[in-house]
Structures are given as C-alpha cells and as structure tokens.
Amino acid sequence: MFAPSVSGPEPLDEESRGRPRTPRSTSVHTVEALRSAARRLGGLLNPARLIEQIVRLPVPEVADLCVYFDLEAGGGPVPWVHAHEGRDGRRGVLVGSGAWDRDVVADATWLDDIANGAAESVEPTPGDPVEAFVARPGGAFRAVAVRGLSDVAGALVFHRADGGFDDTEVDALVDYAERVGTALASAHLYQYQARAASTLKAALVPEPLPDIPHAVLGAAFRSAFEAERIGGDFYEVHEVPGGFDFSFGDVSGKGDEAAVLTGRIRQSLEALRLVEHDPLRLMEHLNLLLLRTDPEKFSTMVLGRVTPLPAGGLRVRAAGGGHPPPLVVGVDGRVREEYIGGIFVGAIEDAPFRDREFDLAPGETLVVYSDGVTEARNPLSGGQMVGEERVHGVLAECAGMPAPVVCERLVQYVDDWLGGEEHDDITVLAVQAPAAGPDVTP
C-alpha cells in the first residue's frame, strides 16, 4: 500500500477544482508553456533547487500536478518532489516532498518501465499508487522518462483533472523531460566539483584562532584562489604549557599543488612538535623532512614561541626561514622591524636558519604577513606594488587597535589597493600583548 511520507501529498480538494485557472485550451499553449519553462531551467546549478523548479514551472499552465521521482538513489525508497496549485484558499503553487517505499514502487509498473529504459512515455493504469497525489481518481496521468548523462535519472508525472494530453502535448512533455535531464546532469556535475573542492578546503583552511590567556590574537586572509580559500599561505597558533606556539608560512607555487605542500608542512609541524619545542630546531627538522619528500618545493616561514612576562608584555622567540621580517606596532604608532634572517625551508640541506628573541611591551602588536601583502599591484598606478613603506604607514595608524582589527585593516587596505585585480595569497597574523591598565580583559 501507499505509505504516507515525510510531507505526504495533499489531495486536491473540491475548492481548488472549482477555481478558474489559466486556460490551456490548445496544445499550442501547452507546447509554448513547456518551452518557456525549459528555458527558465537553464541557469540553475543546484540540483535540489533545480528539481523544485522542474516541478513548479509546468503548474498550472500545463498540468495541475507535476511530480518528479528521483531514480538515481537506487535500491531504497524513491524520493519525490511535487508541485500543485494552492488549496484551502492559498494562492500560487505549493511544493512538497516525500518518498515511496519499495512496496509502493512495486505497485507502480510504469515506474519500472521507465527505470528500465523500456518506455519513454507511459500512462499509469487506474488503481496506480500515483493516484494518491490527487483527491479522487480520474482525469489523466502521464509519466515521462528523464535521462541523465547516460542512464535514466528520474521520471516526471503530470496530471490533468480535466481532459487528457494529446499526441502533440505528449511530445512536448518528452521534450521537456529531455531538457530537464540535461539541466540536472550539469547541476550534478557542478555539485560534484564543488564537493571535491570543499573536501580539499576542509582539510586546509586555517583553524579558528584559539583563545589564549595573556595575549590578543588576530588573523585575516584573502587567498589567490578565492572560492576554495586554500593556497600557499598558512598560519597556526597552539597553546602550550606556559605560553603558545605560532607558525606562519608561504609555500612556493599556487593552487592545488601549493595547498598539498601546505597540508604536508602543517602535519609535519604537528608531529615534530611532539618531540621538539625550540623554533630553530623545529625549523631544521622540518627542512630535512621537506627535502626528503620533494626538494623542488620550499616555503618561507616564521616559527615562534611566545611566553608572558611577569610584569606584563610578551617574550617572543622566533626562527626565520627567508620570510619578510615581522613588524611590531608600538603603542605610540611607531613601527619597528624584527629582522630574523635565514633562508627558505626545504630548499637546501645545510640551510642556515636564524632565531631571535624580543619582547612586546603591553599594548604592542607583532604583525607577520605574507609577501602577497607587499607585492599587491595597483592597476590604477601602472601596477605599482604596495611595498614595505605603505605597510608601515597603515600599521602606524593601527596603534591601539585590537589585533583582529589590525589584521582586517591591513588586508582591507591591500584589497582596496588591488581594485579587484588578480593577486597572490594575502595573509596577516597578529599577536598582541594586552594593554596595561585597570581595563585589561585578558
């Protein structure tokens, strides 16, 4: 028997039958309405939304009910989406969904014919479960096959309470199903690509910054390959006993390949941290590890360990691997460079790395950025780059701002500078020592 579903089909009642509707006196009208509906399916790329429109658009001009049965799931229940005219005084077209259990499907022989590719267009026989979609048997049903890329993807069922479908109209229904199949296939392909991209993204997108006592953290980024938010820049902050670690880097190359290397570096660092805490030693280990996997690929990097000072402020111990020098924004707006040095990580065997120790006074902010910031080009001034001087200038105006605001301000400045032009990854990380005074909320 027919099993009532998630939101079962509400049969059309007397009132909606009696209401005057758009006349569909001629088959010419049906053909035209279906053509126009098919055109409107064109741009839709989301399968679920597309199916809603597929059943919605032919109602009421072509039929008073349209149901799409999804045959792609295979095996289990057959999901359906249906659209019908409003009832209980509600105007417009209503859309609902549910599923047919296997035993219901077994009673619908036309569906089996369509699924097997045996028929392109079938008229369900009286007593068929499809009649549960309308208040009382009668009128005419017509089912047509929807073909996907290769196999049958689903079936469309149309119902008219008054009169049937003539040959010209059945041909038009088959044509509509053909267009529906093409639209669904491209939507499914697009969804497949989007899923693949988002899986990659999920593994590589920076984790949200942790809440660290004694420090205010901020980060902002805009990646070169916008949609996936993955690319060659990475940063991470981990709380450790007595303080926290941070890493920031920019790997060679762009896109997927850079993303893969980024992922490898992040995993390697995670493993190495189990046995080594000193930033310089960590960098040396990482260098050997990366050389072993692929000597062609390398990364600039800053690794740091931060500990709070008893009298307020933070002590930073940082190792450098050929990365632009971190900047410190003073409380008075003065910007100083904390030069570290060192060369790329993962490029040569006996690479000389350097480390340094420096302090952040209360209210001071350490800013680490990727070269996408300084090398962004302004299309309006002959491709001039942002350069270090402008970065200093912007940061000087950021004195006293909370770390997240500093990062956002810098990325925003660079974005404005670019005026919508192509760019490399733009990434900024800020570590701030909370300002002194009674107002401090660590």
Binding site: G43, N46, E52, A227
Partner: protein, 345 residues
C-alpha cells in the same frame, strides 16, 4: 507586527550612555551597559537597532565631519561588533524555527556591521542565520550555496562602487536557485537598483527586512534574460580607459602642485590616485546601471566631506573638466559628468 515598532524610553536612554562610552573608546563600559540593559529587560532587537546601529551611524557621520579619525572609527566598530556579540550570547539558546538565511557582504565591501545587525535581527525573528563575513568573493558564495543550500541570501552593500560585484552575486545566487534580499546604502534610497540587478526584495533597514520576510521567503523571480541589464557600450569603454583617466588626473594634480612649488609624491600621490580611483569607479558604476543619480549622490557626499575639511571644490571641478575633455566621444558619460558638475557647482 508589534516587533517592528521601536521600544521608546528604555532604549533611548541606553543609546545616549552607550554612544558616550563608545565615543570615549571605553569598550568594557559600553559592554557593561549592554549587559545591564539586557538584564533590565530591554528588548534585544531594540538594543541592536536603537542603540548599537544608531551609534555606528553617528560614528560614520563623525568621520564625515572630520571629528573622528579612521582609527577611531575602526576601534568604535570593533566595540559595536563586541556589543552585538553580547546581545547574541544573551539569546544563544534560541532554536531557529524558520528557514535558513545566508547573510553576506558584497565582494569588496568591508563594512560588516550593518550585515551582522541584520543577521542578528533575523535570528531574533526565528530564522536560522549564517553570516559569511565581509567582502565575500562571488566564487566562494557560489560554492557555499552549493554545499549548503539556503532559503534566502541577504546581501549587504554600503558603497555603490561594489554594485557590479553585487550583480554578479545576485546572478550566482539565482543559479543556485536562492532568492535574494538586498540592502545597505549602496543600493540607494529605494528599490530601483535592487530590482534592476535582479534581487527579489529590497529593504531600507533591518526592521523592514524582517517585516518583509514575516510571511516567508519570496519565490525566485522567473529567469528573464531580457530583464538583465546590459551595460552600455560606453561602460566597457570607460572601464578600459580607467587607468588612463587616473594618469591624466595625476598629471593634472602634479601641475597644480608644481605651480605651488611642491612635488606630488608619497602619501599625497597615493591619496590622489585613490580619489581619482573613486571618482572614475563611481562614474563607471553609474554607467553600468544607467543611473546618473549614483554619480551625483557620490559627488554631493564628497562635497560635504571636502567642506568639513575646508578643502575647496575647485580642484574637484578641474578634475571633472579634464575627464570631460578626455571622454568627449562618450555622450552618455558626458551627460553623467555634467550632472555631476551641476551638483558641485
């Protein structure tokens, strides 16, 4: 709906105190006040729209009239953001009973507060709201809507120069089968631009947006190719010429500086490029929309900003003159430029 009427008295008093604390950049004080108001039973929606939003508006005006620096404005916005957080936490246990709305700022748009306020107000009205953030790239939005289909996209745009991007995002949402509501100063004072760009709904503010959605989300507008605005041929041409126009403007400014025995470089040069970038960008958007009001509104605002800083409009008029002579073979563009001059004159 009773909700759409602001609560008088309570919120008004809180608003004054809150603004005073924000003006003093007293973050803990401002947040305490919000906590206190919530405990006193002040309506959360009223706190968002009658306390936090007007304060942000006053901060913006403060910058316009040269009373606030950019840094002050950023710091104040940060407090506003935190204050919204306090209101949100207050109602954290609420479970959304209605559909899913994705809220995003147009690509290039960094003013996130209006969008966040809208998102939180819609949440208070029972919607399941996700805020995608400021300056959301179109491709990211598309992928996001593909991964997690939404019932509605709410798009915020404060600056008209991002309207071309807004159009792209509205089109993308449509391809995902998601209807769009738009708002923000960028869309102008009525629904003309919103309708032109294909959005289903336009709302002047968060309250009206919530009221428009009281009966549910709108249906997707039928896809009608003829209704999609086709930017004039002049638009494409002026976009191509933008770099050249800015160079001409810079040369002009250089001459003016030289006449005063000064050299145009460093920050002053960057500033000039930025200003010329804005002028040409507003000009191209007004061509894209075939709506000179976009350009004249910008110039009226610019004039106000210049007046507040005691800068004469003569230099701006001179730049407009240079643009006119460069774009002599672009009749529509000339019309827009001349209407602009009229506003400045």
């Amino acid at each position: 709906m009773s909700r759409t009427e602001p609560v008088a008295g309570g919120a008004a008093t809180v608003a004054e105190g809150y603004f005073a604390r924000v003006a003093a950049l007293d973050e803990p004080g401002a947040l305490d006040l919000v906590h206190h108001a919530l405990r006193e039973g002040v309506d959360p929606e009223s706190l968002l729209l009658d306390v936090i939003a007007p304060c942000q508006m006053r901060v913006g005006l403060g910058w316009q009239s040269n009373d606030w620096t950019v840094a002050d404005e950023h710091a104040a916005t940060h407090i506003g953001d935190r204050a919204i957080g306090v209101v949100v936490e207050h109602g954290a246990e609420r479970t959304p009973a209605r559909g899913r709305i994705v809220v995003a700022c147009v690509d290039g748009e960094w003013h996130g507060l209006p969008a966040r306020l809208l998102g939180e107000v819609l949440r208070l009205h029972g919607w399941d709201v996700e805020f995608l953030g400021t300056s959301v790239p179109t491709r990211r939005l598309t992928l996001h809507l593909q991964e997690r289909p939404a019932d509605l996209l709410a798009l915020s745009c404060s600056l008209p120069t991002h309207l071309v991007n807004a159009h792209g995002m509205i089109t993308a949402a449509r391809r995902m089968g998601v209807p769009v509501i738009v708002g923000g100063a960028g869309f102008g004072p009525d629904d003309t631009i919103a309708t032109r760009l294909g959005a289903e709904l336009w709302a002047a503010d968060a309250r009206r947006a919530a009221a428009l959605l009281a009966d549910g989300v709108p249906e997707l507008r039928p896809w009608d190719r003829t209704a999609v605005p086709a930017p004039s041929a002049e638009y494409a041409s002026v976009v191509r010429l933008r770099g050249h126009l800015v160079r001409v403007g810079v040369e002009h400014a250089r001459t003016t500086y030289a006449a005063l025995g000064r050299d145009l470089r460093g920050k002053a040069l960057d500033r000039t490029v930025e200003d010329l970038g804005h002028i040409t960008s507003f000009l191209t958007v007004s061509l894209y929309l075939d709506d000179a009001a976009v350009f004249t509104r910008f110039l009226r605002w610019t004039r106000m900003v210049l007046d507040a800083r005691g800068v004469p409009t003569a230099s701006l008029l001179a730049v407009m003159g240079r643009l006119e002579s460069e774009l002599g073979d672009h009749p529509d563009t000339l019309t827009h430029l001349r209407e602009g001059v009229r506003v400045l004159g």
